[in-house]
């Protein structure tokens, strides 16, 4: 694989869902990083839409293979997450593997349906072989998961925006994964956020939350604590589709007068919600979800953070967030904490989280980190793509052999002049298939 002769920039095929009202994590990630990365990398964006992607050179993802054949990319970059908008990336990373940014590693579904019958467990061990043992085409495969085994297997290099998932990947990743065959270490890459220049401190007793109205995101516990804390209000940002569930919970805890619902879980709306709140709640007790990018935005806005003492937050210093252990005593701890903020509002003027966000979540830093990683591993990526090209060539040859054999079997008993070699081979050559 070669970089474009007209440019010294590394050529990247960047997969991202097209922009939508219902913002997926991948969309946010792309929106934060692409403007910075495109200064040093030559990026072509591939989406699940035919619409242009902002001002970037962009195309529908099903044209990526042909685009790669015409002018090879140095690296394919995918993002995967627990969202149906991620299906096309999950599908395509098996066609041409690349660097995969995992926002989640556990999925509630298996992805694009025709990929349920993926032979990846049989194919990947053959990657470095010279004499490839192709599995029978009639084999049927049962999907493994919904844990992202297939996606982890195909990742040339795996990056995780949730460190909890990195640990899980290291623990359970299969030995034949592409990343292990090419010695490319999995890494944590924090979810990028924009760090505001000015911090507006708010000391009103208003909480902000972007939790789904579920037990996993601890809303029953938070609303119960709110019920016992009449001085507090909750600015709750949800999707409109969650309205009924949210209202049922509000009704259950009789906190109608304390909760203001707003709709559209987007970065912009979260920033607006935070602007009038002093405390951001990021309670979460789930292996499926992750608190970013909203947690990072809350920290960058210098809010007081309360979060579950579970998973993602394990990596945070104790003095940075108020960690609440999920389970027995959780609501009581929240009540005590809210009471303490009322009695000592100085606690709401909290600067440390801003500094932490600046050091860990700044989009400029993360773009640099990603860019450095790409440049430093470029030769390994090139090795892989050279290998993959050869491997794909073997696959094509195996296909042609099967196709010729299909016809030859039908022609058994006929003269050799009716064999595939003496008939359709000519058309295959003319069509550029061989």
């Amino acid at each position: 694989m070669n970089s474009s002769e007209s440019s010294q920039k590394i050529r990247i095929a960047w997969f991202t869902p097209s922009k939508s009202a219902n913002e997926s994590l991948s969309e946010v990630f792309s929106a934060e990083l692409l403007p910075i990365l495109s200064e040093t990398l030559e990026i072509k964006v591939f989406t699940d839409s035919f619409e242009p992607y902002e001002n970037y050179s962009s195309a529908h993802y099903l044209t990526a293979v042909q685009a790669h054949q015409q002018n090879p990319f140095d690296l394919f970059i995918y993002q995967v997450e627990n969202h149906t908008r991620s299906h096309f990336s999950r599908a395509h990373l098996g066609l041409i593997p690349g660097l995969v940014i995992f926002h989640h590693l556990n999925f509630v579904d298996y992805g694009a349906e025709s990929f349920l019958n993926s032979p990846w467990t049989k194919v990947l061990p053959e990657l470095m072989q010279t004499d490839i043992n192709w599995p029978s085409r009639s084999n049927k495969y049962l999907p493994v998961g919904p844990f992202g085994n297939r996606e982890a297997g195909y990742a040339l290099q795996a990056l995780f925006t949730n460190p909890q998932n990195l640990s899980e990947f290291k623990r359970s990743v299969i030995k034949d994964s592409i990343s292990s065959q090419f010695n490319l270490e999995p890494k944590h890459l924090a979810f990028p956020v924009a760090i505001p220049k000015d911090i507006q401190f708010v000391t009103t007793f208003e909480l902000a939350s972007t939790a789904k109205p579920t037990i996993a995101e601890r809303m029953p516990q938070l609303l119960k604590a709110l019920q016992a804390s009449p001085a507090w209000k909750l600015n709750w940002l949800i999707e409109f589709t969650e309205k009924k569930l949210a209202e049922a919970l509000i009704n259950e805890f009789q906190v109608e007068s304390q909760v203001i619902l707003t709709f559209g879980r987007t970065v912009k709306n979260w920033e607006k919600t935070l602007a009038r709140s002093s405390v951001a709640s990021h309670l979460l007790f789930s292996v499926y979800e992750q608190p970013c990018p909203y947690l990072g935005i809350s920290m960058a806005s210098s809010k007081v953070i309360i979060a579950s003492d579970y998973g993602f937050l394990d990596t945070f210093p104790e003095n940075l967030v108020y960690k609440i252990a999920p389970g027995v005593g959780e609501t009581e701890t929240l009540i005590v904490l809210l009471k303490e903020f009322v009695s000592n509002s100085e606690l709401l003027l909290f600067k440390e989280s801003y500094s932490y966000a600046e050091e860990h979540f700044s989009k400029e830093l993360i773009a640099t980190e990603l860019s450095n990683l790409i440049y430093s591993n470029l030769s390994q990526y090139q090795n892989f793509y050279a290998n993959w090209q050869e491997f794909s060539g073997h696959a094509k040859q195996a296909l042609i052999t099967d196709v010729a054999s299909l016809m030859n079997q039908q022609m058994i008993g006929f003269s050799a002049k009716f064999s595939w070699d003496n008939t359709l081979k000519l058309q295959f050559q003319e069509l550029g298939w061989i």
């Binding site: 035919f50 529908h60 099903l62 044209t63 293979v65 042909q66 054949q69 299906h87 096309f88 599908a91 098996g94 066609l95 694009a112 349906e113 025709s114 990929f115 019958n117 993926s118 032979p119 990846w120 194919v123 192709w134 085409r137 195909y154 491997f391 794909s392 073997h394 696959a395 094509k396 195996a398 296909l399 099967d402 196709v403 299909l406 016809m407 595939w420 008939t423 359709l424 000519l426 058309q427 295959f428 003319e430 069509l431 550029g432 298939w433």
Partner: protein
């Protein structure tokens, strides 16, 4: 008068809109004095790699002279017959091999990430580009088909809507208490959604299904749904019916259900309109959306049993409204020309390569 070969594709033991289109095209060419004939090679998608050979077969045939008659023009219609080579080639595209395009990654496609599947996909896509681009005239049967060509192959084409198959025979009659579903019985036509919706629809309303099974196991699946929801007395499978019976079934229906996934065109929609009946379709049904207008001549709903069931109930509960929507559809189709001839333009465009040196 020209010697014209129309290329069809024969999927053994099945019949659908494609056969209607080719038969009608041939009739219209002959009625204008052309020496036209049809060539159809058998086509099967199993095993999927065999489609390369089938495409190459079309490529291998020398169409320039057949039976000592010089062919002036070849009109191709569908994958893989547009792989045919000729000095004058028109393509009136019904569809490409959709599993590598709009159906890729859906439950209606069988391409996985097996590198041999990917090689197959890539080979067809590249050859499609070549074989379609070499056409002297390129059209699609709907805006949906033309849009796919533009999106996936960056090829420009004209839209030529095929006129209705039984022009002048459709009529409107008072509605009886049944919903009509017409089409091949296979997953992509989504008759199962209507079956699953039927328990929501008022009990006096029945479902009449015209069409033959076109997928292994599909009838077992339908029968299972029927048994599960105790719908034995409400669902009637009519199989293939005569043209006359079909016209009568349309005329007397309360409404027509037609909600396939991303349909190319869909004669059924237009036949329902020509019969003055409202159509219920889905917002991802593709070609049908070029004709069905929500609340004007039908309903466009989400592709799930709840939305379909409640949509159908609107027709049941307000029959005057249902009738009005149907009549709006009739007025539209009369105005469109699709219910009259419409063939003159099509023939003129398809034969346009003959006017070029």
């Amino acid at each position: 008068m020209a010697n014209i070969i129309v290329l069809g594709v024969k999927v053994p033991y099945t019949s659908g809109g494609m056969e209607v289109l080719v038969r009608d095209l041939l009739r219209e060419l002959k009625s204008r004095g052309h020496n036209a004939d049809l060539i159809e090679l058998p086509y099967t998608v199993l095993p999927k790699e065999s489609i390369l050979n089938q495409a190459a077969y079309y490529r291998s045939i020398d169409f320039s002279t057949l039976g000592a008659v010089k062919t002036d023009l070849v009109i191709a219609t569908k994958f893989p017959n547009y792989f045919a080579k000729h000095t004058k080639k028109s393509v009136w595209l019904v569809h490409q091999h959709r599993a590598i395009y709009d159906l890729f990654g859906t439950r209606f496609a069988d391409f996985s990430d097996d590198p041999r599947d990917e090689a197959l996909r890539s080979m067809i896509a590249t050859a499609d580009q070549q074989c379609l681009a070499e056409a002297d005239y390129l059209a699609g049967i709907s805006a949906n088909v033309v849009e796919r060509l533009n999106h996936y192959n960056h090829l420009k084409a004209e839209v030529l809507y095929p006129p209705l198959p039984q022009v002048g025979k459709y009529y409107n009659a008072p509605a009886e208490e049944y919903i009509l579903s017409v089409g091949r019985l296979c997953s992509i036509k989504r008759v199962d959604l209507m079956l699953k919706a039927l328990p929501i629809v008022h009990k006096q309303v029945k479902l009449k299904i015209v069409g033959l099974p076109d997928e292994p196991g599909i009838m077992d699946y339908y029968q299972n749904e029927i048994a599960k929801h105790h719908l034995q007395d409400r669902v009637e499978f009519l199989g293939r019916v005569s043209n006359e019976d079909l016209v009568n079934l349309f005329a007397k229906s309360l409404a027509v259900y037609y909600a396939p996934y991303n349909e190319d065109y869909g004669y059924v929609t237009l036949e329902a309109m020509a019969s003055g009946k409202p159509v219920l379709t889905a917002n991802d049904s593709g070609g049908t959306l070029e004709f069905v207008r929500h609340e004007e001549n039908g309903l466009i709903v989400d592709a799930n049993p709840d939305s379909i069931g409640h949509g159908m109930n609107r027709f049941v509960e307000d029959k005057d409204r249902a009738k009005q929507l149907g009549l709006n559809g009739l007025a539209w189709i009369d105005q469109s020309g699709l219910n009259s001839t419409g063939w003159d333009t099509i023939i003129e465009r398809l034969l346009s390569p003959l006017n070029c040196e």
